[in-house]
């Protein structure tokens, strides 16, 4: 008997969605006039962070190794926190709210136990 770690698609997907939302909002803030942060480096940094969160979420969704999953969770939590702070400092509070979705995703990924199979 051996373990096949359960692939929990919801957690990783939520992380990816939060990254997507952050990137879209940041792109809007960068491109649209009168956002107060248009044409500045801050939103570009958030777009980059959003893309990394999407990639991180997808990796988390597919990862099978325990070590990789833990590593990804830590990296994603750091990215979520940093992106939330960046969103607040850019006065784009929706970005910070989107990070809560990602946080819930990580929590789901943590608390749902792996399933024994075969």
């Amino acid at each position: 008997m051996y373990y096949i770690p359960h692939r929990n698609p919801a957690g990783g997907a939520m992380v990816a969605v939060s990254g997507l939302i952050a990137a879209v909002i940041a792109a809007y803030a960068f491109l649209m006039p009168l956002t107060g942060v248009n044409n500045t480096a801050g939103p570009l940094l958030v777009i980059l962070a959003g893309v990394l969160l999407i990639i991180g979420g997808l990796i988390l969704r597919m990862a099978v190794g325990r070590g990789l999953r833990i590593t990804m969770r830590i990296l994603i939590l750091l990215a979520l926190a940093g992106t939330a702070v960046a969103g607040l400092l850019l006065h784009q509070n929706l970005i910070a709210l989107a990070m809560i979705i990602g946080l819930i995703g990580v929590i789901i990924d943590i608390i749902r136990p792996g399933r024994t199979a075969a």
């Binding site: 009168l34 956002t35 107060g36 942060v37 500045t40 400092l89 850019l90």
Partner: protein
């Protein structure tokens, strides 16, 4: 009978119609600072502290005249407070165009293009502070009874008819006055007309701008009074004594002036002589340099003058029109004048005589460290006792621990390497130089002081900035120079023994090395000169990230106040425009503008509705964000 009554009523309505459409004559905003007394005050009361939160943008207008400096054109720096007169809003642009707009809708009435060269002839950027308006008191019904003027960086003054935008052919050479014809001493660059002329009666009083950091010898600071209709020279005033004019220069008036028409006086805020940071070429007295000087409007003769910095080697130009105010001190009404300064000083004197309202003391100041050849330092400088200085200049500003930690101790190392013995520590060649606090971009800038006459509250925004100045002898300068910017970087002071470097004290990430706040809004009770309240103003911004509002922002531009108990101001890095309570300093309203609104707001009434106009043009001293927006706000229509 009924018909007759109706007809009479109709006639009365027809007769009153122009009045109904006209602006409120008591609420003039037909000059750069609203009024000639530079109070930036509106008696309008529709917008109050209670309802200003409902303010909404009713129109905005984009001139299209902007450049970020990345293409062929230099960046634009636009600080033009709109002028509202003749049922029209007039604005000047940094491409040296005049645009006439409908004050209620922003609809374009006409435009006039000077076709001026768009080159950084004397400034690092294309700059404009707006237009001037003149109306002939004895109008004959001819064209140009009402005239709008705009100056250019290449020293030409254009006059156009206020109704049509057509050139005034009676004025100078078919509507164009070449002011550079009077640039006859050290004419290294044109006398740039970036600030609109000050209109007093039928005279236009002209100052000009240049580059006093570039050369030891520069054009000396002449002021020209010209006839508003013909452009003929009426009188000239020289700010520098004859003996200094060819070996120094500037001490020009590059900012707005104020005037007391009743007393027949115009007040000149005179800047420092050239070069900015070394005075070995100008060791004799130059009593009008860095002064407020009152002239007889008709003759240009000096009535009184007060020098605010003796032998200025810090670029502490007197940089704003003094605010004229009648104040009651100890039960006595005083015709006063308040002169704000880059040092964060507010000098208050009697505007008839120039005498102190509160004592202004001559105090000993630091002398040189013997590293600078030829320099002769002033032993004392004037310090106001009331109001107290807006910045504490007694000691080195405290290092901001966070910036120091992020900079791995770079701020501490810089602090240790900078010479500072308090206010007026002179420039040096040693170490990293001398700390400049307040610096030439700090304290109060050209927005000056606003004043609410009923409550006798003065309002002023002040920046807290720390820079450092280092002088280099010629050989060292050529090695060290790696370019210059606006209010920072290297400047050659060609002809003098020393080039100079002026830098903001920051760590590698751009964080200021000193503790916040970086800018404040201050209200003063002018019965006593005491601070009524002071609050951080705006928010600083770096890479788009807004810093906490408790840190405030450096500001360029200034406030306007209303009888409704509201202060309006843009001026901050975060490009927001704001309203504050005059009584408490509480922020009541804000909106996002396209760029920092570095001009004073204009407040006007048109067709019975009160409007507040901001020009969001940006200034590279604050950050590299440019704008071309005129944003106008009013209360919603019921």
């Amino acid at each position: 009978m009924t018909r007759t009554r109706t007809s009479l009523a109709s006639l009365a309505l027809i007769a009153l119609a122009p009045l109904a459409q006209a602006q409120n004559a008591d609420a003039r905003w037909d000059g750069f600072h609203g009024q000639l007394n530079a109070q930036k005050y509106s008696p309008l009361t529709e917008i109050t502290a209670d309802n200003v939160g409902q303010l909404e943008k009713v129109w905005d207008y984009h001139t299209g005249d902007l450049a970020d400096g990345k293409g062929d054109l230099p960046a634009t720096v636009w600080s033009a407070t709109p002028v509202i007169a003749n049922d029209t809003m007039y604005i000047g642009t940094p491409f040296y165009r005049i645009i006439a707009l409908d004050p209620a809708s922003g609809a374009e009435k006409w435009t006039f293009d000077t076709q001026s060269e768009l080159a950084a002839l004397t400034q690092p950027a294309l700059k404009n502070r707006g237009v001037a308006y003149w109306q002939d008191a004895e109008a004959s019904g001819n064209a140009c009874d009402k005239t709008v003027y705009i100056g250019t960086m290449d020293a030409r003054l254009f006059a156009v008819d206020a109704d049509t935008g057509k050139p005034c052919t009676e004025f100078a050479d078919n509507g164009v006055l070449d002011v550079n014809q009077w640039n006859t001493t050290n004419d290294r660059w044109p006398l740039s007309l970036l600030q609109p002329p000050t209109v007093v009666g039928n005279l236009l009083i002209l100052g000009w701008a240049g580059k006093d950091w570039e050369f030891e010898q520069a054009p000396p600071g002449s002021v020209f009074a010209i006839d508003a209709r013909t452009g003929e020279l009426v009188w000239t005033f020289e700010t520098l004594p004859e003996s200094l004019r060819d070996k120094s220069g500037t001490a020009n008036i590059w900012t707005a002036m104020s005037a007391d028409v009743e007393r027949g006086l115009i007040y000149l805020p005179v800047s420092s002589p050239s070069p900015n940071y070394w005075g070995g070429n100008r060791t004799e007295e130059a009593p009008y340099a860095t002064s407020t000087t009152a002239l007889d409007i008709k003759t240009g003769k000096v009535v009184w003058s007060r020098q605010w910095v003796h032998h200025d080697i810090w670029d502490y130009d007197t940089n704003a029109a003094p605010t004229l105010m009648d104040i009651t001190v100890d039960g006595k009404t005083i015709p006063a004048l308040m002169q704000s300064m880059k040092q964060g000083f507010l000098f208050v004197v009697n505007r008839e005589t120039g005498e102190d309202v509160w004592p202004i003391e001559e105090r000993p100041v630091p002398q040189g460290d013997d590293s600078v050849n030829g320099e002769v330092y002033a032993p004392t400088q004037p310090f106001p006792t009331m109001p107290k200085p807006l910045l504490d200049q007694a000691e080195k500003p405290e290092i901001w621990a966070l910036a120091d930690a992020v900079g791995l101790g770079s701020c501490s190392r810089l602090w240790n390497d900078l010479w500072y013995e308090g206010m007026y520590t002179p420039p040096t060649t040693r170490g990293s130089g001398a700390m400049a606090y307040p610096d030439s971009a700090g304290g109060v800038q050209w927005g000056g002081v606003a004043f609410e006459p009923d409550s006798q509250i003065a309002v002023v925004n002040t920046s807290h900035l720390v820079q450092y100045i280092k002088l280099y002898d010629r050989g060292a300068y050529e090695k060290a120079n790696n370019g210059s910017g606006n209010e920072s970087g290297f400047a050659p002071q060609t002809g003098s023994p020393y080039g100079m470097q002026l830098e903001v004290a920051r760590n590698w990430l751009g964080m200021p090395c000193w503790v916040p706040p970086y800018g404040e809004l201050v209200a003063l009770d002018m019965h006593t000169g005491e601070v009524k309240w002071r609050k951080p103003v705006g928010a600083s911004q770096q890479y788009g990230f807004f810093m906490p509002e408790s840190w405030g922002s450096p500001t360029i531009g200034g406030p306007a106040v209303t009888a409704g108990g509201v202060i309006f101001i843009g001026a901050s890095m975060d490009a927001k425009v704001r309203a504050y309570s005059l009584e408490t300093g509480q922020e009541l309203w804000s909106d996002q503008a396209m760029a920092p609104a570095v001009a004073n707001p204009a407040i006007y009434e048109y067709q019975g509705r009160e409007y507040v106009a901001f020009v969001a043009g940006g200034n590279t001293i604050l950050k590299d964000q440019v704008g071309d927006q005129v944003a106008v706000y009013a209360l919603p229509r019921e």
